[in-house]
């Protein structure tokens, strides 16, 4: 899952990036509204975390412009402005959630996860594909009741494919949701991670869950 954080306080921005990356998110950052709006327009983010008081263009304007451009990215406003009228203005301006500073990082993570569930229309935080279970809050993965340890990127890939189970997901889309723009990897890296997931999850004797659709992408299906 890929997140854009627009925040002008550098130290907070650094912390948010670090904390979210450690939770297997791909994170892009912007220090002002202009950069934030530009990045939101060119990348398919799952979530934008947006401060309101920003240099150059304020957060309300960024939000309005995003919605005017038809972007349906989920937006979480993260701001020191805690007045009810600010919350109303933010949510009515097209935001999906509103969190005031100072905040608990745990709560921010839970809200981010909730917004991701909403995006992929999953009500249950435990995703299931056949006998594979994915706990999106603890990042634990079980197959047939047996826990499968995964690296962060492996988990991120699995969760993304599980959210889109039953669909053919192009390699480029996977890559875009797993890596921020500063990463100098190419989409070939996806093949490497798919083979690692196959090794860990589709063990001999079990029904394979991952399929490669040549020239199109990957498909994860449980039926």
């Amino acid at each position: 899952m890929r997140i854009l954080v627009v925040e002008d306080n550098r130290s907070l921005l650094k912390t948010l990036k670090k904390g979210l990356v450690e939770e297997s998110f791909a994170v892009d950052t912007a220090e002002d509204g202009e950069e934030g709006l530009y990045l939101a327009g060119i990348n398919d983010y799952d979530i934008v975390i947006l401060d309101l008081l920003l240099p150059k263009i304020d957060g309300w304007t960024v939000l309005r412009e995003m919605r005017a451009k038809g972007l349906s990215t989920h937006v979480l406003i993260l701001t020191a402005r805690d007045a009810p009228e600010d919350k109303v203005r933010g949510l009515d301006g097209g935001a999906d959630d509103y969190l005031t500073k100072p905040f608990r990082f745990e709560e921010l993570l839970a809200r981010v996860r909730a917004l991701i569930r909403r995006k992929y229309q999953a009500k249950n935080p435990r995703l299931a594909v056949a006998d594979l279970e994915i706990d999106t809050s603890s990042h634990r993965v079980l197959r047939g009741g047996r826990e499968i340890p995964l690296q962060p990127k492996e988990y991120a890939l699995l969760e993304y494919l599980a959210h889109r189970a039953g669909e053919i997901v192009p390699r480029a889309a996977i890559w875009e949701h797993l890596y921020d723009w500063q990463d100098d990897t190419t989409s070939n890296i996806i093949d490497v991670y798919i083979s690692r997931l196959r090794r860990k999850i589709d063990r001999p004797g079990l029904r394979p869950l991952f399929q490669t659709i040549r020239g199109e992408g990957y498909l994860m299906r449980g039926d």
Binding site: L12, G19, D32, T100, E106
Partner: protein, 469 residues
């Protein structure tokens, strides 16, 4: 109680009562005068009539009661007739409750006296002297003195009981009418005062609809009487000031909470993220450095706010000492030397070491520190900051000149506002808590002075003017 309505009514009634009382006194006096005048006329006529009660018999006047009886006036009136020597020639029958005043023939006519005995009613007495012919006819007749005549004195008295009763009745009538008039006028003035004060209640009611939440409401002067327009205008002006004050206060609170919450959020989430998993020591040290920087920036905001609050509360009255600006500037230069070296900004001061101003040394140093620090912070690399001081008229003037980025004209008046930043996007990069210039202004104004800025593309000049107190 300070009631306008009560004052209006009481004032009005007081004036009215004075007018009515004056009128009453006038009517009473006029009536009394008229009654006495009529009484005196009657008595005068009676004395002359009484002289006719005498007959001249063999040259001597003789009282004829028959004549007296036929002409007896119906009023409670008594009389006596005396000759020149004071012998009583005749008098009305019956006792009298007063003593006659003495009288002699030849007194100027007529003489009137009021007798006020200790007991009983008062009497009005008219005394009449006359000479009677003694030679011819059987009826007394006046004739000039020196002829065959004798002098007589006639005194007539009438009780004042009747006129006193009439005056008493008049008084009660006047009192009754006056009281009724005052009562009616009182009721009327109560209503009129209420009507006159109604606009005040309307203004009050209109003001009640304006509260903290809708301070932008104003009273419409056209819906009030023209006499109230100045009041409405002043009230609206007061509301304008109040609204601006509230806005400034709200803005300040919002800014202060933003300036504190943002670094606080950064600090707390940094710690929380750090604690989520074990970290190598190098990472921990770097995180501590970051956190320290964040905490320091919070410290700057908190200390700035506390200083401003103390100065706002008037708890930082400046001391007045003879201070040498040259020494203060030198001190400031040495304390920010490292920063300036890093930016390669040159610091210059052109101040006569003997030049002295009257100021609080610690406060003036802080003001100079903030201004010089800003001048360095917003300077271009390789630029310079120069400080000059001198006297213009009676005022001490200190100028801090930089070769920095300058301040756009439209932002210049606002740079002294709390948390105001010319370019918010540079806030993070240049540091500073956003309170430095407001602290400078507060300090200089506390000294009775002024601070101003002028700025162009070649840099900014901040000017401190301190009056020679």
């Amino acid at each position: 109680m300070h009631s306008l309505r009560l004052k209006l009514i009481l004032g009005f009634l007081l004036v009215l009562a004075a007018v009515i009382a004056g009128f009453d006194v006038f009517v009473y006096t006029a009536q009394r005068h008229a009654l006495m005048h009529a009484l005196d006329g009657r008595l005068f006529a009676a004395t002359q009539a009484a002289a006719r009660y005498l007959e001249i018999e063999s040259g001597q006047p003789v009282f004829d009661p028959a004549r007296e009886n036929s002409a007896r006036p119906p009023l409670p009136r008594v009389f006596r007739i005396m000759d020149e020597k004071g012998n009583i020639l005749g008098q009305s029958p019956g006792p009298i409750s007063f003593s006659w005043p003495t009288a002699k023939a030849g007194d100027p006519n007529p003489r009137r006296t009021t007798i006020r005995p200790d007991r009983g009613v008062n009497w009005r007495i008219s005394t009449w002297t006359e000479r009677l012919e003694t030679d011819a006819g059987n009826s007394a007749k006046a004739r000039p003195e020196g002829e065959a005549s004798i002098g007589i004195v006639v005194q007539c008295a009438e009780s004042l009981a009747f006129s006193a009763k009439e005056l008493r009745e008049l008084s009660s009538l006047l009192a009754l009418v006056s009281l009724a008039a005052i009562l009616i006028a009182g009721g009327g003035s109560y209503m009129l005062a209420g009507k006159a004060l109604r606009p005040i209640r309307r203004v009050t009611a209109a003001l009640e609809t304006v509260s903290e939440t809708n301070l932008d409401q104003r009273l419409d002067p056209s819906s009030f009487d023209v006499e109230l327009h100045p009041l409405i205008t002043r009230l609206n002006a007061a509301l304008d000031r109040l609204e601006k004050g509230f806005q400034r206060e709200r803005q300040f609170t919002a800014d202060a909470s933003h300036e504190l919450r943002t670094p606080l959020a950064a600090l707390l989430s940094a710690i929380e993220v750090l604690l989520r998993r074990p970290r190598p020591e190098a990472e921990l040290i770097e995180a501590h450095r970051d956190n320290e920087k964040t905490a320091r920036s919070m410290q700057a905001v908190v200390e700035g706010l506390l200083l401003l609050a103390r100065m706002d509360a008037g708890k930082a009255a400046p001391a007045r000492e003879s201070v040498a600006p040259a020494a203060l500037v030198e001190d400031v230069f040495s304390s920010i030397g490292i920063e300036t070296a890093a930016k390669s900004v040159r610091l210059v001061q052109i101040i006569d070491p003997a030049f002295r101003v009257q100021a609080d040394p610690a406060q003036l140093r802080l003001a100079l520190l903030n201004l010089i620090d800003n001048a360095v912070r917003y300077n271009r690399p390789g630029g310079h900051v120069s400080v000059e001081a001198g006297r213009t008229g009676g005022d001490a003037v200190i100028e801090i000149r930089d070769t920095g980025i300058g301040i756009p004209r439209e932002n210049q008046p606002r740079v002294f506002e709390r948390f105001y930043r010319v370019d918010p996007s540079r806030a993070e990069a240049t540091g500073g808590c956003g309170l430095g210039l407001s602290i400078v202004r507060k300090i200089i104004e506390g000294h009775g002075g002024r601070v101003s800025v002028s700025s162009g593309p070649e840099g900014s000049v901040f000017t401190i003017v301190l009056p020679d107190a």
